[in-house]
């Protein structure tokens, strides 16, 4: 299918979007014997086609080159998404955590997601972790990450190393376990078809089948499918559904982890090229907010220092002494809209007074932690150019980040098409089938009913696996028609 001239006219299952959700669902179904076509808007590139978190990677693999703003009456927020085969898994750091028990319980209780408990999720996490492997660091963590841990320890706060979707068998710096390195080779080996550079614009139900229209490298394209799984991510999935006339509880309940960053400067060098990625996370205040250390390459330091134009030259002078830290909460809500005549979705966000007070408190706590770790100067990513040089200065930070005071961003997006049985708020059922629409399923972060509090990729993969197995069970009982007729074999073969 990598040959553009050989796009199939008709498939059994089409999966739209090759991020973690789409890739896990596609592999599970293909290994169970289904005829699956995975359609991806972005290119198919090696995971190391560009240096990570750099300009060239943004241009190659991010949606809109990494320029995806949201709109707000008051505080706005930029968000980022991957647009390539593998989706966000190709560009993210692969920090991996299973969904916390409290979050799973919220999904069950508040959204009436059937059959979901912490115990029933375990086999799905295990199945995904057997393919996309998760490891703690083998070498010492980088100094920037250890500083955060030291600060937390001094304050008596809980802090943990977060394992990553990386293996350290072949090279000390690790091999990233992105979708293109893990699930997708298995998908192709199972006979799945992959169509990169193909954007789906609309879905239509014609004569009991789905018709998918899109464009591939500038040429229009139509494919028929018995069943569709949409896995375009939390922003593009609702946009596609709405464009296709499917609107019930779609796109109106966007949630995310809004993030504020600071640049902290230390007396000694902490930002050394070639070091592993930072891995520590301060968990003391979860689920309200958490803290971590970001990649601190000079271009990224400079972006946060943009709030401090008078100090910008400090980046050139001291970047080896500087690192980027963040605090992120679960506050804020948003919605996804289509603009008539245009292709890209428009995102609106909104924060309450308490959301902003919570983030402001998180920012203060983060600065406290960094001073406890020995930082000599902290440049918060908020407007007004306030520079902190002592712990006492933290008290001078604002009690709210309302208005245009903070530069917010989000990497974790959810909940635009929540799953569950509650007719008043859920777009899809407990296993991802769109309510009231035949043969249409979702398999990505859009159906997670609420923020995961922790890094979400593990949750996206496990839920996609759970729901794909459920689809196979339904198929085995005759509700759908897999290529093989032996339902039990299907489920066994799909046990990744």
């Amino acid at each position: 299918m990598n040959d553009p001239t050989r796009a199939p006219q008709r498939v059994q299952v089409a999966i739209i979007g090759a991020g973690p959700g789409g890739s896990v669902a596609a592999t599970t179904l293909a290994e169970a014997g289904h005829d699956v076509l995975l359609i991806e808007a972005g290119p198919h590139l090696p995971v190391d086609s560009a240096p990570h978190f750099r300009r060239d990677e943004m241009m190659q693999k991010y949606c809109n080159g990494g320029i995806t703003p949201s709109f707000a009456l008051s505080t706005s927020m930029a968000y980022l998404e991957g647009c390539c085969v593998g989706g966000g898994s190709e560009i993210n750091r692969g920090l991996y955590q299973r969904t916390p028990d409290t979050v799973v319980e919220t999904w069950r209780r508040d959204f009436h997601v059937d059959g979901i408990t912490c115990e029933t999720m375990v086999p799905h996490f295990e199945a995904c972790e057997a393919v996309a492997r998760v490891s703690p660091l083998r070498a010492p963590a980088p100094p920037s990450s250890l500083r955060l841990q030291e600060g937390a320890n001094r304050l008596g706060w809980r802090c943990a190393e977060v394992p990553r979707l990386v293996t350290y068998d072949d090279k000390p710096s690790g091999k990233k376990q992105s979708m293109s390195a893990t699930f997708l080779p298995r998908f192709l080996a199972a006979g799945g078809g992959l169509m990169p550079d193909t954007r789906v614009h609309r879905l239509r139900r014609i004569g009991g089948r789905w018709s998918i229209s899109g464009t591939r490298r500038g040429r229009t394209l139509d494919i028929e499918a018995d069943t569709i799984f949409v896995a375009g991510g939390a922003i593009r999935t609702p946009a596609l559904l709405k464009r296709s006339g499917i609107r019930r509880h779609v796109g109106g309940s966007l949630r995310f982890h809004p993030m504020v960053k600071v640049v902290a400067q230390f007396p000694e060098e902490i930002n050394l090229p070639g070091m592993p990625d930072p891995v520590h996370s301060v968990k003391e205040f979860e689920p309200r907010f958490s803290m971590g250390c970001s990649i601190s390459a000079p271009p990224l330091l400079a972006l946060t220092m943009a709030e401090h134009p008078d100090h910008m030259t400090e980046v050139d002078r001291h970047w080896r002494h500087m690192a980027l830290y963040y605090v992120q909460s679960t506050g804020g809500i948003g919605s996804v809209h289509n603009v008539p005549g245009f292709r890209d979705p428009l995102v609106r966000v909104q924060f309450s007074r308490s959301d902003m007070a919570e983030l402001a408190e998180g920012l203060k706590r983060l600065c406290e932690c960094l001073f406890a770790a020995g930082a000599v100067t902290i440049y918060p990513g908020i407007s007004g150019g306030v520079v902190l040089r002592t712990t006492g200065g933290v008290r001078g930070l604002p009690d709210t980040l309302r208005g245009n005071r903070a530069t917010l961003s989000a990497l974790h997006l959810f909940a635009t098409c929540p799953m569950g049985e509650r007719g008043d708020r859920c777009a899809v059922d407990s296993f991802g089938k769109v309510h009231g629409v035949d043969d249409l399923y979702l398999a990505d972060a859009s159906l997670l009913p609420s923020p995961t509090v922790v890094n979400p990729q593990g949750s996206v993969m496990a839920i996609a696996h759970r729901n794909a197995l459920h689809f196979l069970e339904r198929a085995a009982h005759g509700a759908a028609k897999p290529r093989s007729s032996d339902g039990r074999t299907l489920i066994a073969r799909s046990n990744l």
């Binding site: 190391d48 560009a50 240096p51 990570h52 750099r54 300009r55 060239d56 943004m58 241009m59 809109n64 080159g65 990494g66 320029i67 995806t68 703003p69 090229p273 390459a297 000079p298 271009p299 330091l301 400079a302 972006l303 943009a306 134009p309 910008m312 030259t313 980046v315 050139d316 970047w319 603009v339 245009f342 292709r343 890209d344 979705p345 428009l346 245009n404």
Partner: protein
């Protein structure tokens, strides 16, 4: 053309302000940053593409009102003053536009200045 001239001038002014002119190869680095900014402007969500270009040209010509010439024809110190006026403006769209271009130019410039080898 007006858009291209504005982006080149804006890039030149901010890079010079960052001390970039003192570096070897400054002009080719500046040109690479300016090309990056232009290409990112083509990549923004499609409903913003034209508004971004129009806003950039408005920024350029707004300098005529205060300094008698478009931004891209101003001397460096007046360019910086004009940038500051927009960056610190009480009008949110002006601030947002400046922040947007500054972000791109910083990303582009620091990527030129601190390149990493391909892994």
């Amino acid at each position: 053309m007006a858009f291209q001239a504005t982006i080149s001038a804006l890039t030149g002014a901010l890079v010079r302000d960052l001390g970039g002119d003192a570096l070897p190869d400054a002009s080719s680095k500046r040109e690479a940053v300016s090309a990056f900014v232009r290409s990112q402007c083509e990549g923004v969500p499609d409903y913003l593409r034209l508004p971004v270009k129009i806003a950039a040209v408005l920024f350029d010509y707004s300098a005529v009102l205060v300094a008698g010439r478009p931004f891209h024809n101003l001397p460096h110190d007046k360019q910086i003053r004009h940038i500051h006026a927009w960056r610190n403006s009480n009008l949110l769209p002006r601030q947002t536009l400046m922040r947007f271009f500054e972000t791109l130019i910083l990303m582009g410039w620091y990527s030129e200045r601190y390149p990493t080898e391909q892994p």
